[in-house]
Symmetry: C2
Subunit: 491 residues, 2 copies
């Protein structure tokens, strides 16, 4: 999820669900019948409590936080260890049942939709933090561990895991979708921060992408299977363990906010801050519409103009210099109202608009649903695409305040839509396609961090070309010839 969190789904106990009728009719009679035939096999692997047919559980596992339609799986299993995942996968493989991995369901491109029915593997019961090595700056986690749970676990070590997509997503899910977020400009995305993965392939094979238990900070040993799995969105394997890089918690942090007369001035400041070598930790852009929404929602009085929210990490002394350099640069670009804050409370107040942006956007149209688009372009192309996109939104009577991880050229329109209005949904759909094509025309990508999922398969082909899609398909076929792993996603 893009901005902040929403209360997590409170799942009913699988046992309770078992007692319920299968009130959600399966759309896939073939897989549904196959599931019925393997029920006892599934139960013998992960226990009575570990298999759920309940309508509510299946519905909860058939959608993420996007506006993609819910497609419930035929059954949800709750394995407790990699051996169970492997055994369950073997059963599915033998009976040609689709396998859909499920972490926290906080994805944004319909990645968990069971479009061909099958078995959803909920990994929430595998939630242990394993093998913490503070002196080596690495840790290994099971797939049920969320980023907040990990950082809470790390509290006394002086270390943290900085990749922050907003939602309290599971770390293995973040690996599967190549998540990033606000800190990527300084600490990189999941691609740069996963050292090793354990994954179960379609046939039940347990793969360790960099070798079992290995955790060197760099390696040149063979094909980079780790980064083939990162971003594969469950279509190549179920990630059952991730070894991650950790970082020392910075001695101090400073937050700052600055308003600009134009998008160009905000982007120019960003480029110059990066050129000056300021090791900026976060540099977030909010457009005038979003600032207005935030002012209303949180009773703030920021200028209603393009705004940068900045965060600096470092030693007390280096921070002073970083902030001064950033202030100089923003002022030379016409920035005004540069405010900064050092202590936690003041920093929180200063960034309140940014933190509440999701809810502020929603409050623009009470009762509506929010849907976050996602494109990424080279930095210098940002002003053009943002100006054109704002024009497009106006012309098409759409509500879509803009927020972006501007240091990476990545931004989102927070589309606030009436989910029961098919005409508006259609306009939003056409708008997001135009937005993606605008990014492609400017050397960019149709998705910087949300992934392809269900929604961007056609755009992927336009982006990488038929040769690259053919190569991706060959790789998929070589690892999952029966197309059982999360079918219908990416390709």
């Amino acid at each position: 999820m893009l901005l902040g969190f929403r209360p997590s789904l409170r799942l009913l106990s699988p046992r309770l669900q078992l007692l319920q009728s299968r009130s959600v009719q399966s759309e896939h009679p073939a897989t549904s019948a196959a599931v019925d035939s393997v029920l006892s096999a599934l139960r013998s692997i992960c226990g009575e409590d570990g298999v759920s047919f309940g309508a509510a559980v299946r519905e909860q596992h058939g959608r993420d936080e996007s506006i993609h339609r819910c497609c419930p799986p035929d059954v949800v299993v709750f394995p407790r260890c990699v051996e169970e995942v492997s055994e369950l996968a073997k059963v599915c493989h033998q009976h040609n049942l689709p396998i859909i991995p499920f972490g926290t369901g906080t994805g944004l491109e319909g990645g968990v939709s069971a479009v061909k029915g099958g078995v959803c593997f909920s990994l929430r019961n595998m939630d242990q933090v394993l093998d913490l090595h503070p002196e080596d700056f690495d840790v290994t986690v099971e797939p049920g561990v969320t980023r907040k749970a990990l950082n809470s676990h790390l509290r006394d070590t002086g270390l943290w895991f900085p990749v922050d997509p907003g939602a309290d997503a599971s770390l293995c899910g973040m690996a599967a979708t190549s998540a990033s977020g606000t800190n990527a400009v300084r600490y990189g995305t999941m691609r740069e921060n996963v050292l090793n993965l354990e994954a179960v392939l379609a046939d039940g094979t347990v793969l360790h992408t960099a070798g079992k238990g290995r955790r060197p900070r760099k390696t040149a040993a063979g094909y980079n299977l780790t980064n083939l799995l990162v971003g594969s969105e469950g279509t190549l394997g179920i990630i059952t363990k991730a070894t991650l890089r950790l970082y020392g918690i910075p001695e101090a942090m400073v937050s700052a906010v600055c308003s600009f007369p134009s998008v160009q001035a905000a982007v120019d400041s960003t480029v110059q801050i990066l050129q000056a070598g300021v090791p900026i930790a976060r540099i977030e852009f909010l457009d005038d519409v979003m600032m207005d929404a935030c002012n209303r929602f949180s009773s703030l009085s920021y200028a209603v103009s393009p705004t940068l929210f900045l965060e600096f990490h470092g030693s007390e002394r280096s921070l002073e210099e970083q902030v001064l350099t950033a202030e100089d640069i923003t002022q030379s670009n016409g920035g005004s109202d540069f405010q900064w804050a050092r202590d936690a409370g003041s920093r929180e107040r200063l960034w309140k608009a940014r933190h509440d942006a999701w809810y502020a956007a929603l409050a623009l149209r009470p009762g509506c649903k929010a849907y976050a688009t996602d494109v990424c372009v080279p930095l210098s192309r940002l002003p053009q695409i943002i100006v054109e996109t704002k024009q497009d939104l106006m012309e098409n009577r759409l509500t879509g305040p803009i927020a972006g991880h501007v240091g990476d050229g990545n931004f989102h329109c927070l589309m606030v839509v009436e989910p029961s209005d098919p005409e508006e949904l259609h306009r939003v759909h056409l708008f997001t396609e135009r937005l993606a094509r605008r990014a492609l025309a400017l050397d960019g990508t149709c998705t910087g961090e949300h992934g392809v999922g269900l929604g961007k398969r056609a755009l992927l082909c336009e982006e990488v070309g038929p040769e690259a899609v053919k190569v991706m398909q060959r790789l998929k076929d070589s690892l999952d010839p029966k197309n059982l792993m999360n079918p219908g996603k990416i390709l």
Copy 2:
């Protein structure tokens, strides 16, 4: 190459070579005959000058800087553009001829050896820097561009490309072998710094791993083909273009040197410097044997003990703080003789031992050849593996001073060997295997940056396990079913 450079091979003009007799007898009569049959096709694609059978040219292209035996290809071609590379590949594909890409020949694991004969693609004639976008911090280069040539080209932009393996290697070759080197602790390896690749597959298909001309700083669009090609050592495709991340040249640099009573003290200092969040740019370790060699070779008077060479990048003011922090930490670990220098001349003098290490090692045994091993382990395991390795060297009467990129847990023994002594070569071979297995036993890798090439195929299997090797083989088969791309390497 590990440390510094050696004078590059001065190749004879292909035209001159054409006039020479094929004095190197082919070891592969089948491919040799096939090459004869396609000669006119090759010449029609890249011209008379673009095809060479000359013995000297073939020998120069049959070896890198390792001690692996020279295996000359049957012919060397010199394409001038990607279209020629693709057409040449199609001819090879049709006639089942192996394809071996060749950049600068500075590899260290026999990656360019034509073990099954075939056609060497020398890419030196494709040497243009293309599409420099200073405001977006990216550039695209052809495969003949070396890292020094690129940095020279960038001189007036305020930007640089920091990955530095020592040798003046071609950047696409560095991508193919997943090179890194001294700066990786701050700026990452090739894996983190390649945004897009153009590559020609075995059948002549031109692939753009992230889509033609695309250069967003991050993407979540489909499988990460870029990082599948990075480190594939020419076994999946010929890299014909690389789009790279650039960085602002730091305002200032400081170099420092410090001696330690033990390897443990040097490594503890490294861990603490990283924990303190000092954005160290280089942190290099030399052991007592190497320091002694350097003192003798360069008439220096450093303490003959484990030593760290450090480099700090940043603003004038931040550097002062970084250096003070590092000095505090080294002293608390028993470090002594902490010296630092700011201006270019003094920095060069201070680091002279590190820069000359390769030649200093060679000078230990005049007339011998040097061979750099390469392993990488989690930081905390470095003291144990270095102590055990020094013991092993002594027990086996081998000369192997140690130098390492200690911030990444990566180190090398510079084996100085008598190349005409098969018994000594055998002892070195057994030693490097023991070293690699020692790294594996400590959760590490048999190669941090030199790659698998010819020499570490068996070790790769021990490292990643049979499941991962099988997955790698399936990927290879899916993209190169005839096994024509650099056969005999990695797998």
